[in-house]
Amino acid sequence: MTEPIRSPERPRVALFELASCAGCQLQILNCEDELLDLLQLVEFVYFKEAMTETSDSYELALIEGAVTRESDEEKLRHIREKAALVVTIGSCAYPVGVPGLKNAHDPVEVGSLVYGEDAGFFPTIEAKPVDAVIPVDLHILGCPIHKDDFMRVLTALLIGKNPPVPTHAVCVECRLKENVCAFDRGLVCLGPITRAGCGALCPSYGSRCFGCRGLCDDPNVASMEALLEEKGKTAEEIMAEYGLYNGYYSRRDGGLKAKVAR
């Protein structure tokens, strides 16, 4: 059971941004019909895309983006000390998302590709999810997060209820939509091992699951890999599948099997 956020009448919320597109912040601002109600419940004290004021005093820290610099790690440790509750938002913060793509390449090469001759002024490290640096209380998942998910999790945290984070795979939601399975459309799909909660958004619009929400609680990765091989994928192609969003944990010891978010 999660402890309710204690003290002030309206808990103070700070939203921090690491390497990301800021799209998840925009998703919160997109909650147009709910924003006034939301502001009755919490007070934002730092939110770069929405306000100029800043504060270093808050109960709930929302973190968007992946760790890509040493200074990010310091920043996170500071936030962890200040905040009662640390919640990540979006795929960059967990499981590492698009910033993790660079982990598949030589860091020097990546640096000079982006910054050219000035690469030396922008030292970066391997892209990491937030929970690889500090303990995280909860992940709000997705690329981007869904506003309903954000509201549901926030209301649950405010009353100290277990936030409704699905433990199962995307397939569960996809079947309920009566979609034609991506595998039956000649595609491969990470739905069977990816955490649900998106309503199988991508497969419902003719695409397939790319794994943006990370692994479900109990993924059968061995059987999934056997299935992908049966569909003609090589080991390298399978790693590339995982690498789009899961390019941190899939490269650690034991591959994807080693890391399941709780």
Partner: protein, 345 residues
């Protein structure tokens, strides 16, 4: 009641009229598969369809429904939500009719669930007989659900240009009498029906090595079978099999709070014994954590536990789970392997 015969074109016209007047729920094509949907004209109805992606039970027990709404203002106010629309369910296959009768036994006769019962009472069932197997996955004949003798208001049998209509309720009689040109079945019609049934009986061959009546005992003595471990290694626990199953009815209930923190609703959603969380209790332990235990549980529900409790088989042989399974777990193979066929690892 008196059986009737109607011309196909007249019946289609009648369904078309109904679809303009009220809710008609019928199989509609969606790419290579089919789904029950509320139609607006008879043109949308798919003929000769494979069992639908989700079973028709989704109409009586929706994947997500509000059970009650609550609000705290000066005091707590709670309103039950009972919603039912008069609906004609058109084109139900015998396997699905058997499954719906099982759900009636559970949700009306045993538990008297008001939400389910209201929809069931507002539903009118038009069954349609299967005269040939739908594909390699169906095994309804082996599960005793190829023939439907009850659970419908009318049952259609395709006789070429006409349908033979078996009438089982007064609502069914009114339905068929509203079809232009409906006439009482005479000796020649009954002969044609018998011939159609003979053709059907020859077309469906048994697929199980074990008689349906012996499945409960077979499963009981197979508790330690190595097959469960083999299946546990393959199973993705994606819940496809239970979501598409016409007899699966397990659900979860949660309270959802609105942003005003004063009102909300209690929601019932489909759940699945194949998911790790299903058998998890408040302290975090799960009674069926290993995947092989969950797989074993599902097959025992289908071939044993439900039969022991309700006297009806928990599997109707529609083959939906086998069609949906990405790793080819097929109940025909599972039951036959438990009976002694070699297991391929």
């Amino acid at each position: 009641m008196i059986d009737r015969v109607v011309a196909k074109t007249d019946l289609i016209r009648s369904i078309d009229r109904l679809a303009h007047e009220q809710s008609v729920f019928a199989p509609v094509a969606n790419g290579p598969q089919f789904s029950f949907k509320v139609i607006s004209s008879a043109e949308e109805v798919a003929e000769g369809y494979l069992p639908t992606a989700l079973p028709p039970s989704k109409h009586l027990l929706p994947p997500r429904e509000a059970l009650l709404r609550f609000a705290w203002h000066d005091e707590l106010a709670v309103e039950p939500v009972i919603e039912a629309t008069e609906t004609v369910a058109f084109g139900l296959r015998p396997c699905d009719l058997h499954a719906l009768e099982l759900l009636d036994a559970i949700f009306v006769d045993d538990k008297d669930d008001g939400h389910y019962r209201a929809r069931r009472e507002a539903a009118f069932f038009v069954g349609i007989e299967c005269l040939e197997p739908c594909d390699d996955h169906c095994f309804c004949e082996s599960m005793g659900s190829l023939r439907a003798d009850s659970g419908f208001d009318v049952l259609l049998t395709d006789l070429g240009d006409t349908y033979y209509v078996r009438v089982e309720s007064t609502k069914g009689r009114d339905f068929v009498l509203a079809v232009d040109g409906a006439h009482e079945a005479v000796y020649e019609d009954r002969t044609r029906l018998r011939k159609a049934h003979e053709g059907r009986d020859a077309a469906f061959t048994p697929r199980l090595d074990v008689a349906m009546e012996h499945l409960p005992a077979l499963l009981a003595e197979s508790s330690d079978s190595l097959l469960w471990d083999v299946l546990g290694e393959k199973c993705l626990s994606c819940g496809a099999c239970t979501n598409v199953c016409p007899t699966c009815y397990c659900f979860d209930v949660r309270d959802e709070l609105n942003l005003d923190m004063k009102s909300g609703e209690r929601v019932r959603t489909w759940d699945s014994c194949q998911l790790e969380e299903f058998a998890m209790v408040g302290t975090g332990e799960s009674f069926r954590k290993p995947r092989e235990m969950r797989v074993k549980h599902r097959f025992n529900r289908k071939g044993r536990y439900i039969f022991e409790r309700y006297g009806r088989m928990g599997c109707v042989g529609c083959g939906r789970c086998a069609r949906a399974c990405l790793v080819d777990i097929d109940p025909v193979e599972v039951f036959n392997q438990l009976k002694g066929r070699p297991v391929e690892r």
